[in-house]
C-alpha cells in the first residue's frame, strides 16, 4: 500500500468529503493556497473547490467557531480549523457553551455537526502558548466528541467519520506528526468513532497511549521485547470521547498491568480518567498500581532541551514499564 504523510491523509479525507457532500466547507485562518494552512494541510483545496468552500477568516477564534456553529444549525457541515490548539481558548465560549450544548438545550430539535480541527503538542520550540495538549478540557464537556489520531491511516478514516458525525467533534492533530508517513488506502473509508486500536499485542503489560506518544511507545516496546523479553500490548484509544473502554479493560484483564502515556500535563489529564475506569472495571485483575507517564505540571518552555525534559521520553516510559512489571 502506498505511504503518505499524516497531513496528506487529512487532506485526502477533506477532499473526499467535499466532493461527496456540497454542504461540507472549510473555514479558518490562512487556509487558501498557496499556504494551505499553517501546516499545509489544506494545500490545493482552495484551488480545487474555490474560496467559497475554503474560506479564509480573520483572526477571530470566536467568530470562526461561532460561524461554524451557525452554519451547521442552518444545515451545512463546516470543518473549522484552529491554527494552534492553544488558540481555542479565545473561542471557548463557542465550543463549550454553544456547540456542546445547543442540541441538549433544544431538547434534541437541532444538532451541531461541526468538526474543529486543531494542531496541538510540543516539539517545535514554540513555547508555552503554542505547544499545549488540551484534550482533557474537551473530554470534560458533555456534548463534545474528542478524537486524537496517531497515524496517517487513523487520521484519514477518523476525520471522515468525524465529518459525517452529527455532533461537534474536536479533531486534535499533532503538529510534529504531520510529516510522519504511513500506509493509507487511496479510497475513502471510515474508522468509526469510539473504537480503539491495539497497535501491538502482548501479554506482560498494557500501555494506553495517545497521539505522538503512540509511535514513541511502539519504538520502545520493540526494544523491550528484544532486549528484556517484555511483551507490551499497546492500545491507542483513538477516540477519547466516546471511549472504547471494553478494549482497554479486556487488555488489562489479560496483562494485569497498565501504564498510561500521554503528552498532556499529568494533573487532571486524560490518563486519570482511564486509570479510574480501569481501577474500577478491572480491579481484581491489577497486579501492580496503574502508572501514568505524562508531562510535568508546568507550561512548555521554549528551549528544546527544557521541553524534552518535561515531556515523556523513552527513558521515563521505560522506567514506568519496568516498575510495573517488577
Amino acid at each position: 500500500m502506498r505511504e503518505i504523510q499524516y497531513r496528506e491523509a487529512i487532506r485526502e479525507s477533506l477532499r473526499h468529503e467535499m466532493l461527496r457532500d456540497a454542504s461540507v466547507f472549510l473555514v479558518g485562518e490562512e487556509l487558501i493556497d498557496p499556504w494551505g494552512g499553517t501546516f499545509g494541510v489544506t494545500k490545493g483545496l482552495s484551488t480545487e473547490f474555490g474560496e467559497e468552500r475554503v474560506r479564509n477568516t480573520p483572526i477571530s477564534e470566536a467568530a470562526i467557531i461561532g460561524c461554524a456553529i451557525g452554519a451547521a444549525l442552518a444545515g451545512m457541515r463546516p470543518v473549522a480549523e484552529i491554527m494552534f490548539l492553544d488558540f481555542i481558548a479565545a473561542g471557548m465560549d463557542q465550543v463549550v457553551n454553544q456547540a456542546a450544548k445547543i442540541r441538549y438545550m433544544s431538547g434534541g430539535q437541532v444538532n451541531v455537526p461541526i468538526v474543529i480541527r486543531a494542531a496541538g503538542g510540543s516539539g517545535r520550540a514554540s513555547a508555552a502558548q503554542h505547544s499545549q495538549s488540551l484534550e482533557a478540557w474537551f473530554v470534560h464537556i458533555p456534548g463534545l466528541k474528542v478524537v486524537m489520531p496517531s497515524t496517517p491511516y487513523d487520521a484519514k478514516g477518523l476525520l471522515t467519520a468525524a465529518i459525517r458525525d452529527p455532533d461537534p467533534v474536536l479533531f486534535i492533530e499533532h503538529k510534529m506528526m504531520y510529516n510522519n508517513r504511513g500506509p493509507v488506502p487511496e479510497e475513502e473509508y471510515v474508522i468509526p468513532l469510539g473504537l480503539a486500536d491495539v497497535k501491538r499485542r502482548g501479554r506482560d503489560v498494557t500501555i494506553v497511549a495517545t497521539s505522538r506518544m503512540v509511535p514513541r511507545v511502539l519504538a520502545l516496546t520493540d526494544k523491550l521485547a528484544a532486549e528484556q523479553g517484555i511483551e507490551a500490548e499497546v492500545v491507542d484509544p483513538r477516540t477519547l470521547v466516546p471511549l472504547d473502554r471494553k478494549t482497554i479493560v479486556e487488555s488489562v484483564q489479560k496483562t494485569h498491568r497498565l501504564v498510561i502515556v500521554h503528552e498532556a500535563v499529568e494533573r487532571g489529564g486524560f490518563g486519570a480518567e482511564v486509570a479510574s475506569i480501569v481501577g474500577v472495571e478491572a480491579f481484581t485483575s491489577l497486579d501492580a498500581p496503574i502508572l501514568r507517564v505524562a508531562a510535568a505540571n508546568t507550561p512548555v518552555p521554549f528551549a528544546p532541551l527544557l521541553e524534552d525534559f518535561l515531556v515523556p521520553d523513552e527513558r521515563r516510559i521505560e522506567e514506568a514499564i519496568l516498575e510495573t512489571v517488577a
Binding site: F25, E52, R55, T57, P58, S60, E61, A62, A63, I65, G66, C67, A68, I69, G70, A71, A72, L73, A74, G75, M76, P78, D93, Q94, N97, Q98, I102, R103, Y104, M105, S106, G107, G108, Q109, V110, N111, P113, P142, G143, K145, D165, P166, D167, P192, L193, G194, P242, L243, D244, R245
Partner: protein
C-alpha cells in the same frame, strides 16, 4: 415616525410602503401577545409557579413586532437572554413556550433549555442565548449558510446595548461585514446593561456609530414606535435579501422591569421619573393612538385584541399546567445525536 440614519451607503434603496391594515393589526396583536405573556410571567414567577432565570421585555414589544413582521418563516432568528418577545414574534408556539417555562415535557425544548435557550427550529429560531453576544458570530454562520445556499434567506440577530461591548460582537460583526453576509443585527438599546446605565459602559450614546467601524450601514430609530421599527427593519432586510450585506440597527427602547424577572426596577442612578416618562411612550399606547387616529381600528377592536391576547396566554398556562413533567431519566437523552450502543454516557 422618526428615524435617524447615520450612514446608508447603498444608493437606490426603495422607500418603504406603510404596511396595510392586516399587517398593522397583526403587528398590534403580536405586541399585545408579548405584553400579556410577559406580564403573566411576572405573576407566575412571583407566585412561585415558575422558576429559574428569566428576563422579560415589557416595554420593548415594538422592537420585536416591527422587525419580525418583515421576516419569512425560513429566515433565521437569533436572540439574547431577553428573547421571549422575538421568539413569539417569529412564530413560536405560545403554548409550548409556556410549557417550557413550566418545565414540562411538552415544552419547546423538552424542559432542557428554559427561558434563555428557547429554540424552535420549525420557524427558523436558531436560539435565544444565555451568553451575552454569543449569538453574533453564530448569526454570521447562519448568514454564511444562507449566502451559500442562495435562496434569499436572511438572518436577524437581536442583541442588547451591553452586548455591543463584548469581543464576540466585534468578531461576529467583522466577519459578517467582510463576507457581506445577509444579516440584520438589531441592537435594542434600553439604556441599561444589567444594572449599569449605558453612559457608564460605552463612551458614545449612539452605539449605531460603531457600524462605521465595519463599513456597513447603521440606522438608529425610535424603538417605541413600531412603524419606525418596521420601516428601518424593512430596508435592512431587503438589503440583505438582495445581497447587500449586513446592517446594524439601533433601537432606542426601554424596559419597565429590572434586568432579571426577580430584580427590582432600580438600577445605578435610574430616576423614578425616567420610568414614568417612558411609560408615556408605551409602544402599545403609541400604536393604538395611531391606529385609532388613522381610522384603521376602533378602540373596542383593540380592546378585543388585548382580551384575546390575555385569553391566549390563559390557554397557554392551562396547557402548561396540565402537561406532564419529563421523566427523570430523560435528562440523559439528546446529549449527542449519535452515541455507540452500550457505552455509558
Amino acid at each position: 415616525m422618526a428615524s435617524t440614519e447615520v450612514s446608508d451607503p447603498s444608493p437606490g434603496t426603495p422607500t418603504v410602503d406603510v404596511p396595510g391594515p392586516d399587517m398593522l393589526l397583526r403587528m398590534y396583536e403580536t405586541m399585545a401577545n408579548i405584553r400579556s405573556f410577559e406580564e403573566r410571567l411576572v405573576e407566575l414567577f412571583n407566585s412561585g409557579q415558575i422558576g429559574g432565570v428569566l428576563h422579560v421585555c415589557i416595554g420593548e414589544e415594538a422592537c420585536a413586532a416591527g422587525v419580525c413582521a418583515n421576516l419569512r418563516t425560513n429566515d433565521y432568528l437569533l436572540t439574547s437572554h431577553r428573547g421571549h418577545g422575538h421568539v413569539l414574534a417569529k412564530g413560536a408556539s405560545m403554548d409550548r413556550m409556556m410549557a417550557e417555562l413550566f418545565a414540562r415535557e411538552t415544552g419547546l425544548c423538552r424542559a432542557r433549555g428554559g427561558s434563555m435557550h428557547i429554540i424552535d427550529r420549525s420557524v427558523g429560531i436558531l436560539g435565544a442565548n444565555g451568553i451575552v453576544a454569543a449569538g453574533v458570530p453564530i448569526a454570521a454562520g447562519a448568514g454564511l449558510a444562507a449566502q451559500m445556499r442562495g435562496e434569499g434567506q436572511v438572518v436577524v440577530c437581536f442583541l442588547g446595548d451591553g452586548a455591543m461591548n463584548h469581543g464576540a460582537f466585534h468578531e461576529g460583526m467583522n466577519l459578517a461585514s467582510v463576507w457581506n453576509l445577509p444579516i440584520v443585527y438589531v441592537c435594542e438599546n434600553n439604556l441599561y446593561a444589567q444594572f449599569t446605565p449605558q453612559r457608564l459602559h460605552a463612551k458614545s450614546e449612539d452605539l449605531v456609530k460603531r457600524a462605521v467601524a465595519y463599513d456597513i450601514p447603521g440606522i438608529q430609530a425610535d424603538g417605541q414606535d413600531v412603524l419606525a421599527v418596521y420601516e428601518v427593519a424593512s430596508r435592512a432586510v431587503e438589503r440583505a435579501r438582495a445581497g447587500g450585506g449586513p446592517t446594524l440597527i439601533e433601537l432606542k427602547t426601554y424596559r419597565y422591569t429590572g434586568h432579571a424577572i426577580s430584580n427590582p426596577i432600580c438600577a445605578i442612578g435610574r430616576p423614578d421619573e425616567e420610568v414614568d416618562a417612558w411609560k408615556l411612550r408605551d409602544p402599545l399606547r403609541v400604536f393604538e393612538r395611531y391606529l385609532i387616529d388613522q381610522g384603521i381600528c376602533s378602540a373596542d377592536d383593540l380592546a378585543a385584541v388585548r382580551r384575546e391576547a390575555a385569553a391566549r396566554v390563559d390557554t397557554a398556562v392551562e396547557f402548561a399546567e396540565s402537561s406532564p413533567m419529563p421523566a427523570a431519566e430523560t435528562a440523559l437523552e439528546d446529549v449527542y445525536a449519535a452515541w455507540p450502543e452500550g457505552v455509558p454516557l
